[in-house]
């Protein structure tokens, strides 16, 4: 599924401790256009809750949040 989505910005958040992955996604969301997508890769399991919660409370959208081995991969769409 993720192959079909055009990614506007890649964020490498590996090694960052929570809540920094969420902070980085938030800081970068304005660097993609509305409707644009950030692909973020984190290693802290806390990000699996943090990033979706951030998206919900800011009105953005997490298209997918997957665990791939030791990494957590997010596709976040800027809604507004």
């Amino acid at each position: 599924m993720s192959d079909e989505i055009k990614v506007d910005l890649e964020l490498d958040l590996k090694g960052l401790l929570c809540p920094l992955p969420m902070v980085k996604v938030s800081q970068n969301i304005n660097n993609v256009p509305v409707g644009g997508v950030i692909r973020a890769v984190a290693t802290d399991p806390g990000s699996m809750a943090d990033i979706p919660a951030w998206a919900k409370s800011t009105g953005n959208e997490v298209l997918s949040a997957e665990k791939q081995g030791n990494e957590f991969v997010f596709l976040v769409k800027r809604v507004k």
Binding site: L17, C18, P19, L20, M22, V23, S26, Q27, D44, P45, G46, S47, M48, A49, D50, P52, A53, W54, K56, S57, T58, K67
Partner: protein
């Protein structure tokens, strides 16, 4: 700035005013003795970071609306209406302030600038100028807490991953990270990151204590943002959880403001007496070591070790000796920073500033004193029980090439424990 906004700001000052803050605003002599106490003013030389100046901005509006002399002769006090210039400076001075209260320590009148800054933040929030990132972090935490069932599965699955690591480290295939365990002795409220759970779980397991982990986190961005109601709600989640589970002790992780919020502020905010005690994890670890419930050995940590007092735990939380006793128990060569304890320099990373990109330069400059202290100590390892301090000192470490290992204290403790799966430098 329109009349509506001005009246909103004035209303907030009125609502937030307390006797203590009123006295602070009335008595400050602008003697500027605070100038040498503030790491940010010392590091930048910029007037807006001088503690008395931070308070002066709030005072200018206060004088105009709440003081007879200020109303009568505003020019005498430079009393004025809030305008964009004032709010711009207020934004920087309030959100840069780490709330370390070192200025209060040295002030001849013990003026607590942090409380004045709190009113400054409330003024900004009232007109939609609160710090955006801290607001988002607070809202995300609230959302997570309100929808804990939505996140339960990912949280528990995260705990399972960490549990596997704990089993490896302790060599005990039965080791667990208990969730929702009623009647447990200790509820451990961690940070969102695995790093704050793993070593604690190892220590609790080795101590044989009956514990359970919270589904909520101890970090409180509502407090940094400057909204006491949000801050109270964020803390209320785990306090209610602790009551529901009937634990005897709530333990907060190596996080400065989380401890101060839980131990110093929460009862006053919620107007209730908590039926359990609140401890910092290092108080608990110190107890375990002294009672012989966990074994630690010297010689496993190489190099001289020093300790940084996080402001919210030490000067503002009263925990000075237990962490030192823990570090002394595991380090061959322990040296204190100078000055230390109540006079410890703030590292510059508190108050949520590490999450504020636009204040990065100020933050790094404000670490000058900490860098001096760390260099002078000759230490190779820094034990530091606060997440924000560590993020800041890591940045300083890299920027100034200090070659320091900046470590969570419980990581060092686990490293000093004779455990089968103990990897040196486990992070």
């Amino acid at each position: 700035m329109d009349a509506q906004a001005i009246s909103t700001i004035v209303g907030v000052i009125d609502k937030k005013m307390t006797r203590q803050v009123k006295q602070y605003l009335d008595i400050c002599a602008r003697c500027a003795i605070c100038k040498d106490s503030c790491h940010q003013y010392v590091g930048t030389g910029d007037l807006k970071y001088l503690p008395a100046r931070r308070a002066e901005l709030v005072r200018q509006v206060y004088k105009k609306y709440f003081d007879s002399a200020g109303r009568f002769v505003p020019a005498l006090f430079e009393a004025r209406d809030p305008d964009d210039t004032l709010l711009d400076e207020l934004y920087e001075s309030c959100y840069a302030c780490t709330g370390c209260r070192r200025c209060m320590y040295y002030c001849p009148f013990s003026i607590d600038t942090q409380q004045v800054v709190a009113i400054g933040k409330a003024m900004l929030i009232a007109v939609g100028r609160g710090q955006e990132m801290l607001g988002q972090l607070a809202d995300a935490a609230l959302f997570k807490g309100d929808n804990v069932e939505m996140f339960r599965e990912v949280l528990v699955s995260g705990f399972k991953d960490i549990e596997a690591e704990v089993r490896e480290i302790t060599g005990d295939p039965e080791a667990t990270i208990p969730v929702d365990k009623e009647g447990a002795e200790i509820l451990y409220v961690a940070l969102a990151g695995a790093h704050s759970i793993r070593p604690a779980a190892v220590i609790f397991h080795e101590a044989g204590v009956d514990w359970t982990i919270s589904l909520f986190e101890a970090a409180n961005y509502g407090y940094f943002f400057g909204d006491p109601e949000k801050a109270r709600l964020i803390a209320k989640r785990f306090m209610d959880e602790a009551k529901r589970l009937g634990v005897k002790e709530v333990v907060v992780p190596e996080c400065g403001h989380a401890y101060r919020v839980a131990e110093i502020f929460y009862e006053a905010w919620s107007k209730e007496k908590l039926p359990f005690k609140v401890s910092h994890i290092l108080e608990v670890v110190d107890r375990f070591i002294k009672e012989g419930r966990i074994t630690v050995e010297k010689g496993r940590i190489a190099g001289r070790v020093t300790y940084h007092d996080p402001c919210q735990i030490a000067r503002n939380g009263g925990i000075y000796e237990q962490p030192r006793d823990v570090v002394r128990a595991i380090a061959d060569d322990f040296v204190d920073l100078t000055p230390n304890r109540a006079e410890q320099w703030c590292c510059g990373g508190g108050g949520g500033i590490v999450a504020i990109d636009e204040l990065r330069d100020v933050r790094l400059k404000s670490g000058a004193k900490k860098v001096e202290q760390l260099r002078a100590s000759g230490a190779a390892v820094l034990a530091c029980p606060c997440e924000n301090c560590r993020l800041q000192i890591e940045d300083l470490n890299e920027l100034h090439g200090l070659g320091l290992q900046v470590r969570q204290v419980i990581d060092l403790v686990v490293e000093a424990m004779p455990l089968p799966g103990n990897r040196p430098g486990a992070q």
